[in-house]
Symmetry: C2
Amino acid sequence: MLALGCELDPDQEVVRTRLEDYFLRPPSHAPCTACGTVMTVHIVERMASVIPAFNSSMRSDRNTYVGKRFVHVKNPYLDSMDEDILYHLDLGTKTHNLPAMFGDVKFVCVGRSPNRMKAFALFMHKELGLEEAEEDIKDICAGTDRYCMYKTGPTFSFSQRHGMGIPSISVMLHELIKLLHHAQCCDVTIIRIGTSGGIGIAPGTVVITDTAVDSFFKPRFEQVILDNIVTRSTELHKELSEELFNCSKEIPNFRTLIGHTMCTYDFYEGQGRLDGALCSFSREKKLAYLKRAYKAGVRNIEMESTVLAAMCGLCGLKAAVVCVTLLDRLDCDQINLPHDVLLEYQQWPQLLISNFITRRLGLCD
Amino acid sequence: MLALGCELDPDQEVVRTRLEDYFLRPPSHAPCTACGTVMTVHIVERMASVIPAFNSSMRSDRNTYVGKRFVHVKNPYLDSMDEDILYHLDLGTKTHNLPAMFGDVKFVCVGRSPNRMKAFALFMHKELGLEEAEEDIKDICAGTDRYCMYKTGPTFSFSQRHGMGIPSISVMLHELIKLLHHAQCCDVTIIRIGTSGGIGIAPGTVVITDTAVDSFFKPRFEQVILDNIVTRSTELHKELSEELFNCSKEIPNFRTLIGHTMCTYDFYEGQGRLDGALCSFSREKKLAYLKRAYKAGVRNIEMESTVLAAMCGLCGLKAAVVCVTLLDRLDCDQINLPHDVLLEYQQWPQLLISNFITRRLGLCD
């Protein structure tokens, strides 16, 4: 049992059950008596002191919190900050009413291309049958050219403006998780949609990741903290992956599978490509490596999944990774699909996620 | 001595001296008899077979090659490829006349923000007194939303569209180096300009990096190749750094220094920030770590320098890293400068580089 009425559920997600207490006590953080992990117990009164309009609405709505799973941060310093500036998102706790802007978010879709994520937002807007005019769906991060965000109902599409790799998505995840936490979001599902290189499977196959693995096929993410290396687990949410897989069965001609995804720090040497500016290994060694990966259960390769799995797992977010493959790396290294085929393949993950969200919201036929 | 008339100079850069031979022989690659490194000997005839217009112009211009330092790739497979698609740049050897488009490039400036890099291109255009209309300076990568590139005379500004970190810049560097190689560029200088966190120095100071170091203050970049880890050197070009430092002395009120730059994989936990979604260390441990970094010679922290130093060093590109500091990490973690001050600071590295380029081109007063 956690102090201050918090319980730690089997998924290490905070379940708030005695909310009455929270309005009487100051903000705090408390260690779990079972595992010792310091959990932040974020009290609505603190947000309310910053954003007065939010206070009354939260109080009147308190019953809806019972049994909900909040996004939580694991940082005892955050509550003592007078203001939290989400620098890369161009948002802040003093300058923006984050609960009013984002409090209803249930689904976060993270992708790489701003164009694709805007198209996804417009597609979701149509699927959800929202009243708001399409023209009103604007980039919330328009003040920065780092990221872009579109919100349509409870769906939040998020793009890194084509930054690639673990560092880029890690910065975004820190600020996204803080944003969801400050906004008091609950029961949030985060899904990365994107493209990848396949191993031993036909291009155009959608891989739903069960476990993200590193270049050595291990289910781990090594985070450097100061000058220590901390190893974190990279398993993704099993039930969510299965739910997505079941959804895919209802889409005609949809090629999908559940498998391991290898996450590398590099597109060329790190993925065994023979076409980079540097290449010090033979074609035979490349193929032997990729075949070892296949034997270890890896079905595709991309550059963000391990840190996403690790951070979401720690912060109580159900996470999934859904990537279409653009080539079979046992056959070639270069992506040379015709433009229209490339566009079609890129739409498969979006189609699956929109199907999943509309089902979850009970909007499916 | 290398085969096929190539010599390896002390900086491991290829010097081509007997160009007549190249037009008579097929393309090839040959090991250096001193160190065994396989060097690609790229023959103009091969490019010419793809782009006929290029052949005659190169033949007539052959004398200009004598003694020049070409950008070279270290990949024996590249020459055997019928076509090289630079996927992330939306360019290719069959679809674009790369020598005609980029053959005169001497300076490559790499930055993060597309807006800033466009502004830099326009600024350089003015400084260089070019005849071309400003409206003609267009994004060469407009076909993709991954990167953007602007070319003004011999200056090439390049932006990652705010992707952050080693993986993002590594993909770009592989394709940029191949682009410069395919375009037969010679004597190229590459400079990364950007922002960083300072350690023990006033915000607004420009740090010219002598050596990029990792989170353990070591001058190394660890590249995963297949399932091996290869360690590469991260020293930057000493004379270039000194030349830049001397340039800075001529700019009034310019605060600059030469020092080590620490390159991390993460903006929050990896840089000892107390304001991320995750933080498992104390304020005291953070400060002790940053003070150890200062003692080891580190003056600023960013997220790209080690891989840039390593790859450019291997490929015969003189490279520099010039970053302004936006805060002193011994004082704080959040960047909360007023917008106008932030904009002013971001202009300092651009000012230095434009000064350097105009001096190099003999255009300075």
